[in-house]
Each structure stands twice: as structure tokens, then as C-alpha cells.
């Protein structure tokens, strides 16, 4: 049983989707229990796997039992790099599923089962992407997540949303195809598809390693993943796609999709090509970091120009992707950038989740889509607003939220790697975030047109009425509980940053390897 956990984790949501297809079409009430059960099973399996990784190290799972020679079957691998990512996926998808109960109502209710089928298949895809060790299998799973997310985004969208969706389809398919092409070049040079096998061959064979084809393969894999994660010049599809789709979709996709792509990039860098080759032989580090800097600055500036809440958050995602890509490429000798990027994957996913939850609640309950609509919302919805504040503080990078610590590690990496421009960009973006969110806080706290006179000069507000109308506007517990859990997780992840980062760092090659190879 225990050794089957990786397979159970991936398959449980898929079976859930099939069950909904079989039994959920007539009676929509069975949908949610099925969704919930399967996601909980997956979450449990994910936590189980993470636990095993902590105890025994890497778990390998060979599909269909084809182990020898390596690469004939499909291998799944859970190690220190992805153990936490799967737990993150489990937590996030479960929380969003709660949130989606109410949110689905905004869609065509007749399509509830289909929404959930897509939702669960997306979860399967995400789990699968995270733990697979096969380069081609990764492509298939990426396509599952892409197709389901195209469907989720386009269903129930507005005019803009539909246009955004077709752009997303085009960009997404090109991205996936580039990835596939890169894998093809690699396959042509190495004759295998298993990531670890490829790495072994590349390391053993210098001629292959330094051939044009492998370099081009890396470039195209990278480009494909960058398109998928909306790295700055390739980000065009993201803001519209995520801001004009239904809230529960946005809550699911925004935190997970880009972060998983970042994880995939790091996985490819570590498990296929090897850091030494990337940083020392290729030496693209400076170039990519500069691209990341541009992404951070541009994302922040564009976010500043938005009046719509969700769109602003989307541009912040673009900036955050810059953080992570930059961090992963810092090539500092102690891998702080890389560990910071990986930690930021977790922390940014939670932050984005929290903020998108709140944006979703606001747009539903008080019909607030633009920043100016938020007048006085703090008073109307204190719980939601408190969580929003927490998420925003994490985004700005205020301790003890996780956002602070991820920035801490990233900046440390930047300083050690000598990438001062990256450090400056991070700080700039923190400042911009501070401006952005305090602009919202101010409107939410004061209202747009505050009275000219002093509060106490007016007829005095009775204290007893002070918090009276509060819970009228507050939404149901099914929505607030996931929100609060997310907010608490942000703080917990921040407080336990040490163990978490220590755990992640187990995944990296011993630092001396890289250091000694450094020119």
C-alpha cells in the first residue's frame, strides 16, 4: 500500500473525474463529495509521500514495473525537490474545491459536473507533472493541464475572456510544442527519455553534452516552459486569461500553473542538464538574470498601471515569475538563489491563492472589480479583509510572512552571486507592491471620498454600533475557512522557513561540486 502512494496520488483525482462522469450528470449533488474525497485522498497520499521522503529519501516508482534498463518504462520520482510541491498542490486544490462550491453558481449550473471533471483532471495533471521523471510523460501531462485549463478559462467567460482564451490556446500550444521539440532534440542525441538517464548520458559523454543539438534542446525546452510560466516578454496571454475567467478557475490556475512551470524549469535544470553544465559551460546566467530583472520591473510597473484588482494581481504574478526565474539562475555558489526560488514557489502559490480568493469574494459579494469599488470594505468584511492584508503583506515582504523569507533567500543569493541588479529589482518590486497594496488599503479603509471634517467633529458614532453590520456582508464559512487556512499557512510557512529550506536544499548537488568547477 505504502509503496503505491505515488500512483494513488496521481490517479485519485482522475478516478474522481470518471465517477462524476458516470454518476454526477443526473444528480449534481454527488459531485462535490466525490471531488472532495478524491482530493483528500490525493492530499493524504502526497503528505504520506513527503513523509516517506523525509524518512527514507527519494522514492522511485516504476510504472508497470519496468525498471531495468532504465528508461524503458516510465519512472516517477519524489525527492526533496518536489515533495513539498505535491503537498502544496494537494492543499491548494482542496482549499479551492471548497471555494468552488459557491463559485460554480456563477456559471451555468447545468455544467457543474463538467466543471468538476475538468477541475479534477487538472489536479491529476498537476500531480503528474510534479512527480514524473520522464521527459515525454511530462509533455502529455502538461497537455492535460493545458486542455483542462483552456476549458476552465473559456467556460463562462466574458467577451474578453474568450479572446484571452484563444490567445492562451495558441501560446500554450506553441509553448508545449517547443518543449516537445527540445525533448526530441535531446532524444535524438541521447536515445532515451528518462530524465536521470539523459543526465547520466550527458555527464558521461562530453561530445554529446557540448553538441549544438543539446544546447538548442535546452534553449527550446526553456522557451517552452517560459511561455507556460508567462516569463516577461512571453507573458501576453496571462493577464487577460486569468482576470476574465470565473473566480474559482482563477483561484485554481493563478497560484498553481505558473509555479508548477517554475518547478518544471528547476527540475529540468537540475535533473536533466545539471547545474554545472548550465552555469559554467553555457554561462547564460547573467543574460537570464537580466531578463528576469526586466520581467520584475515590467511586471511591477504594469501592475501599477492597473485599476482592476484581478488584473493587477496577474501582473504581479508576472513580476513574481521574474523573481523565481532570476533566483533559479543566480548561480551563486551556495545555491541560495535556487533554494530561494523553490521556497518562493511554495510561498508565492499561497500568497497568490490568498489574494485571488479575496478578489473572488469581493467581485462576487460586493461586485467590486476595480480598486475604487472597494470603498470601506474593511468594515463590511473584516475577516476577508484581514486575510487580504496578510496576503498583501506577504507580497510586499513583511515578516513573519513567508514572502519576507523568500525575498530574504533570493536577495542573499543575489548578493553572493554578485547580481546586484537583481537585488535592486527585488527591492524595487517590493516597494511597488507596498505602494499598490497600500493604495488599496487606503481606499478600503477610508472609502474613496472621505469626509472633510474630523471624525470626532461629526455626530459621534456609537461604539456599540461600531462593529454591528459586520457579518452581514461576510460570506459563508465555506468560503472564509479556506481563506483563513491559506492565511495561516502563509504565516506558518514563514515561521518554519528554516526547516523548509533545509529540506529543499537536500535536493541540490553538494555545493562543492559547483564551487570547484567555477572558473
Amino acid at each position: 500500500m505504502i509503496d503505491q502512494l505515488p500512483a494513488i496520488m496521481v490517479l485519485a483525482p482522475m478516478f474522481g473525474a470518471l465517477m462524476i462522469g458516470l454518476f454526477g450528470q443526473k444528480d449534481h449533488r454527488v459531485c462535490f463529495p466525490i471531488v472532495f474525497t478524491s482530493l483528500i485522498i490525493s492530499l493524504g497520499a502526497a503528505i504520506g509521500c513527503a513523509n516517506l521522503v523525509t524518512k527514507d529519501g527519494t522514492i522511485d516508482y516504476f510504472m508497470a514495473g519496468w525498471e531495468e534498463p532504465l528508461g524503458i518504462g516510465i519512472q516517477l520520482r519524489i525527492d526533496h525537490l518536489n515533495a513539498l510541491v505535491i503537498v502544496l498542490i494537494g492543499v491548494a486544490t482542496t482549499l479551492v474545491s471548497f471555494f468552488s462550491i459557491r463559485r460554480v453558481g456563477a456559471l451555468d449550473t447545468e455544467k457543474t459536473p463538467h466543471f468538476y471533471i475538468l477541475y479534477l483532471l487538472l489536479c491529476t495533471g498537476l500531480y503528474g507533472i510534479t512527480i514524473t521523471a520522464d521527459a515525454f510523460n511530462l509533455f502529455v501531462l502538461v497537455e492535460i493541464t493545458s486542455l483542462t485549463s483552456y476549458g476552465l478559462i473559456a467556460m463562462g467567460s466574458s467577451r474578453r475572456g474568450t479572446h484571452a482564451a484563444i490567445n492562451y490556446v495558441l501560446m500554450g500550444t506553441i509553448g508545449a510544442s517547443f518543449y516537445l521539440l527540445g525533448v526530441g532534440y535531446l532524444y535524438l542525441k541521447t536515445g532515451t527519455l528518462n530524465m536521470h538517464d539523459i543526465q547520466a548520458i550527458l555527464q558521461a559523454n562530453e561530445e554529446v553534452r557540448n553538441s549544438n543539438a543539446v544546447i538548442i534542446a535546452f534553449l527550446f525546452i526553456l522557451m517552452g516552459i517560459w511561455i507556460k510560466m508567462a516569463f516577461f516578454p512571453l507573458h501576453g496571454w496571462l493577464p487577460n486569461a486569468y482576470s476574465y475567467c470565473p473566480s474559482s478557475t482563477a483561484c485554481l490556475l493563478a497560484p498553481l500553473m505558473t509555479k508548477i512551470s517554475v518547478y518544471v524549469m528547476i527540475r529540468v535544470m537540475i535533473s536533466i542538464f545539471g547545474l554545472e553544465w548550465i552555469f559554467i559551460h553555457l554561462g547564460w546566467s547573467h543574460l537570464v538574470v537580466i531578463l528576469a530583472v526586466i520581467a520584475i520591473v515590467a511586471g511591477s510597473v504594469l501592475a501599477l498601471a492597473q485599476r482592476e484588482i484581478k488584473k493587477m494581481l496577474c501582473y504581479l504574478i508576472v513580476a513574481e515569475v521574474g523573481y523565481m526565474v532570476g533566483g533559479a539562475w543566480l548561480s551563486d555558489s551556495n545555491m541560495w538563489g535556487l533554494s530561494g526560488a523553490m521556497y518562493h514557489v511554495l510561498s508565492d502559490a499561497l500568497m497568490t491563492l490568498c489574494l485571488f480568493f479575496v478578489a473572488g469574494i469581493w467581485s462576487k459579494c460586493i461586485d467590486a472589480k476595480e480598486i475604487d469599488d472597494l470603498e470601506g470594505v474593511f468594515k463590511k468584511m473584516p475577516i476577508t479583509s484581514a486575510c487580504f492584508i496578510l496576503g498583501a503583506l506577504a507580497m510586499i515582504g513583511v515578516p513573519p510572512t513567508s514572502g519576507f523569507f523568500s525575498k530574504f533567500y533570493l536577495i542573499r543569493g543575489g548578493i553572493e552571486g554578485g547580481h546586484w541588479e537583481y537585488v535592486a529589482a527585488l527591492l524595487f518590486s517590493s516597494l511597488v507592491n507596498a505602494v499598490l497594496f497600500f493604495r488599496i488599503f487606503e481606499i478600503a479603509f477610508f472609502g474613496k471620498n472621505p469626509p472633510e471634517g474630523h471624525g470626532h467633529d461629526e455626530e459621534h458614532h456609537d461604539d456599540h454600533e461600531d462593529l454591528h453590520p459586520v457579518l452581514e456582508h461576510e460570506v459563508s464559512w465555506r468560503v472564509t475557512i479556506p481563506l483563513i487556512v491559506t492565511a495561516v499557512l502563509i504565516v506558518l510557512l514563514g515561521l518554519f522557513n528554516g526547516p523548509v529550506v533545509e529540506f529543499i536544499r537536500e535536493a541540490f548537488p553538494p555545493t562543492s561540486e559547483i564551487v570547484s568547477a567555477r572558473p
Binding site: Q4, A7, L11, M14, F15, A17, L18, M19, G21, L22, Q25, K26, M63, A64, W66, P69, I72, G73, I74, E110, K111, H114, F115, L118, L121, T124, G128, D134, F136, N137, V140, L141, E143, I144, L147, T148, G151, L152, A154, M155, L181, Y185, Y187, L188, K189, T190, G191, T192, L193, I201, A204, N205, E207, V208, S211, N212, A213, I216, A217, F220
Partner: protein, 264 residues
């Protein structure tokens, strides 16, 4: 114009990069290329393993089938899931469930488009003759996938195509009366369930997911190899079920703009 220039530049850069990579490819058709024979000085490539060993492992002469359904069965399951997800996505996007929003049309636009005012005697009769043959052939393709080109996908697409043909020749309603909406979704689910069910059965019997070898006691075969061979057939049937229904579903939704009341 600007887009064209940008497109040209992007394409030129991408193309030259790709060609730069092509430059040190092994020449086309080289049996000793790394992909075919393994990296020089290293172990033989996995495809050599497939060619030399897979018959021993699975007793399936069509290597593509054995690699598809056994060695990389996990991929293939997800490939089926991709089809299913695609079908569901199209349904979610396009399907109009409140039909009152769509005013009924006096005459099918497509009908005038294709046929003018003629009735469909010739087309209808031809189809009546051809459809059973297609379906029969499809079943052959599925069942004989172990020995000849073909298998679940191809057969499934053929069955789906036969339904599409029915919808084209008669109209969508007729085709849907054979296979209505809740049912085709159910059938698609059952298809994947058959596939994944084999996998889970393997897990229950103590193997890894999709490790058909352990099914030997259940399938009453002589050895794990034949168990693999038989399971592959079962799996292909599952694939065919899903692919055929979803292909038809995609067509039905696209052709009727999601209303499912009139086809082309």
C-alpha cells in the same frame, strides 16, 4: 504589416536556431544514431531493447502496440485522458443547455449549403452500406492491433468517424438517438475506467500500476507474458471506447454550435 515583420523575425530566429541544432545531427536514416542504437560507447538505446526484448516480454509482435500499451502504458492512459479532457473542455465551452435562447431555425443552413434542396437518398443509402463496414473494420483494427498496424486509437477514431458519417448523412438527431449525450460521456468514462481499472487491478494483486504481468492468475494465462498480451487488448478496448465517443462528441458539439439539435 508590423505583425508580419515581427513574425518574420521571430520565425527566422527560431528557424535558424533549429537548423543550427540540425547541423550536428546524425544523418537521416542512420541506424547507428544515438536514438536508434544508443550513445557511442554507452549502453544500447532503449529502442534496441524494445526491438530485441519486447516480444519476449509481452508476446506482441507489433512493437508499437507493446510499447504503447505496456512499457509506456502510463503515457497512453493519459493520452486517453487528454482526449477525454478535450471533449469535456469543448462541452464546457460550447454546449448550450438552455435551448430556448436559440431560436429554432426554419431550415438548416448547412443543408442548403451542401445539398441544395435535394433529398439525401444517394448519400443516405451509401452511408447505410458503408457504416457497418467501417465499424466492422474498426473492430478488426482494435482486435488485431497486436499483429498489424492499428489499435485502440485508430479503431476508436474509425468508430467515431462512422458516427460522424451517420450524422453527416442523416442528421445529428439520428446519430444522437444511437448515442445520446449523457451516455457518450458515460461511455467515455467507462473507457478510461477499463484502462485504469486494469492498472488498479495490478496494484491490488501486488504489482505496480499497469504491471499486467501480475494479472496472470486472474486471466488464467500460461505466463506473465500472455497476461500482458491479453491485458493490452483489454486496455485497447478501453481506449477505443473513449476515443470513439469523444470524437463523435467533439464533432457533434462543433457542428451544431453546442445546441446538438442540427448538424451540418
Amino acid at each position: 504589416m508590423l505583425t508580419k515583420v515581427i513574425a518574420f523575425i521571430a520565425v527566422a530566429i527560431t528557424g535558424s536556431l533549429l537548423l543550427y541544432g540540425v547541423a550536428d545531427f546524425p544523418s537521416f536514416g542512420d541506424p547507428n544514431s544515438p536514438a536508434n542504437a544508443g550513445v557511442e560507447g554507452g549502453a544500447p538505446s532503449i529502442s534496441q531493447y524494445f526491438i530485441t526484448e519486447s516480444y519476449k516480454d509481452t508476446k506482441v509482435p507489433n512493437l508499437v502496440t507493446s510499447v504503447l500499451a505496456d512499457y509506456r502504458g502510463y503515457d497512453t492512459m493519459f493520452e486517453t485522458v487528454v482526449v477525454f479532457a478535450g471533449g469535456m473542455a469543448i462541452f464546457a465551452i460550447l454546449r448550450v443547455l438552455r435551448s430556448k435562447e436559440e431560436p429554432p431555425k426554419p431550415q438548416s443552413r448547412a443543408e442548403t449549403f451542401v445539398h441544395g434542396d435535394h433529398n439525401r437518398i444517394i448519400v443516405g443509402t451509401t452511408c447505410k452500406l458503408v457504416i457497418p463496414v467501417i465499424q466492422l473494420f474498426a473492430l478488426y483494427v482494435i482486435a488485431h492491433g497486436h499483429h498489424s498496424p492499428g489499435g485502440g486509437f485508430q479503431g476508436g477514431v474509425l468508430i467515431g468517424a462512422s458516427f460522424i458519417l451517420l450524422a453527416l448523412a442523416a442528421d445529428l438527431k439520428t446519430a444522437l438517438s444511437r448515442l445520446n449525450e449523457p451516455n457518450y460521456i458515460r461511455l467515455a468514462c467507462i473507457g478510461i475506467l477499463i484502462y485504469a481499472g486494469f492498472g488498479v487491478l495490478c496494484q491490488i494483486l501486488g504489482g505496480n500500476f499497469l504491471d499486467y504481468g501480475v494479472l496472470q492468475p486472474v486471466l488464467f494465462t500460461d505466463g506473465p507474458e500472455m497476461a500482458r498480451s491479453h491485458s493490452m487488448l483489454g486496455v485497447e478496448i478501453g481506449v477505443a471506447l473513449t476515443v470513439s465517443t469523444i470524437m463523435f462528441a467533439i464533432y457533434a458539439n462543433l457542428a451544431s454550435r453546442g445546441t446538438l439539435n442540427e448538424g451540418l
